[in-house]
């Protein structure tokens, strides 16, 4: 699955890191490192991370779209 975080918007609240610790990690004081291509099996945790973000910085591709427009 595909994930992107708007790091202009991200304020380092780190709620995603609690919801999906294997895929979102805070480094130093406030650098967010995340996995842009987590396995489909992690979708539940990734979507919880997305919902938990106080500034709605996380975008996740819906499962129905995964290959809809594949070139």
């Amino acid at each position: 699955m595909r994930v992107v975080v708007d790091l202009n918007r991200c304020q380092g609240y780190a709620q995603c890191c609690y919801a999906a610790p294997a895929h979102f990690e805070l480094r130093g004081h406030e650098i967010l490192f995340y996995d842009p291509a987590p396995p489909e099996a992690a979708r539940g945790r990734i979507e919880r991370a997305q919902q938990a973000c106080p500034v709605r910085a996380i975008s996740v591709e819906g499962i129905d779209l995964a290959e809809e427009d594949a070139p």
Binding site: L7, Q11, R27, G28, P36, S59, L65
Partner: protein
Amino acid sequence: MSGRAGIVIVGASLAGLRGAEALRRGGYEGPLTLVGDEPYRPYDRPPLSKHVLAGELAADATALPQLLPLRARWRLGSPATGLDRNAKIVRLADGSSLAYDTLLVATGARARRWPGEAEFAGIFTIRGRDEAADLRAALARDPRSVLIVGGGLIGCEAASCCRDLGLPVTLVDPNPTPLARALGTLVGGTLAARMRAAGVDLRPGTQVRALEGEAGQVCRARLADGGSIAADLVIVALGAVRDTGWLSEGGLAADAGGLTCDGACRALTRMGVPDPNIFAAGDVARWPNPLYGGRLIAVEHWGNAVEQAAHAARNMLNPADPQPYAHLPAFWSSQFGLNIKMVGLADGADSVAIVQGSRAAGRFLAVYGREGRTIAAVSFDEARWLPAYAERIAAGAAFPPIHDATDQPAIETRPPGFPPPRPFPASRGRVPEAAHA
């Protein structure tokens, strides 16, 4: 808008993708085609100069999520080579043509290359996924010494990755500090100290005159002062050139600095008249930004690609009601364990003030002013304060804008230390400006 040819978007990166989504979200039901010069679906570029170089992410791992059904035709791996505005046709490298009713130009920019770069192996740029993959592979082969030419964001991020990999790295830049043009030398000086502490051999005030090689492999840089630096891997990080070559015959106001647009994202002809059927967004678009006095600027940042593409799409769907595009530039960078975030354009500032934290502590927020107005702010690991300052910058608040905030130090304003402007070749009309790093 409901013609048979429909909408063609040239450029299949962040702006192209988000523009396509905004068109569908805005109710556009007609044909939609996306043209991309690379053979890949839209992917995210910021990780390329960070986690991909460091080997933490594969270069092909950053495909962007698509946020709604596009029902689009994709023409990937076939760059646009020409534009015929009379016939309303885009020509592609494979010899085919695409008719359009409305066109969105989102071709972005490419890395500025070193002249004669192909002469030697071991010289790299970072812009696309293939370039990042090639450079990553070369870094993994343990070069003896890496030279980075250019102390902008990409050069600094690459230097940080090289040190994380334990590689000896030298960074040269003609200015007194890294990021001098974006942040000034006062703030740039704190980054310089951080880089040196991390083991970077930083050579400010230094210019490379030539790259030299032996047996087809780069081996040293010859400096303008006659000295030299040994290096078997060179990263050229000299900024970007807008991808407008394919527009050269189209009669539009396009050059290496971008495609000039009116305030509503409509491309201007060389006569200065908007073409009602051609819009532009992202790195390639140069437009009069009302937040900066209508100065013509092109903004090479992620957030602008997203916002301008959505704005252009909105105007494409509402041609009778074009709305001006106002945008507060913003970027982030992570390097040397620091999170650097900026809002606004600091160039031209006459004052800077540290308004939270301190440079000594390595965590601070600096605000820039020009003629008594607040124009930009940068955070080093103090991002939580930034949104409040972004609001003041957008409102053109007096400088410095916020007093008596919690934990605020005594505010002292100082000169920001910007290098003198680069000599600019004779240009027609207003001098174009670019916000990039």
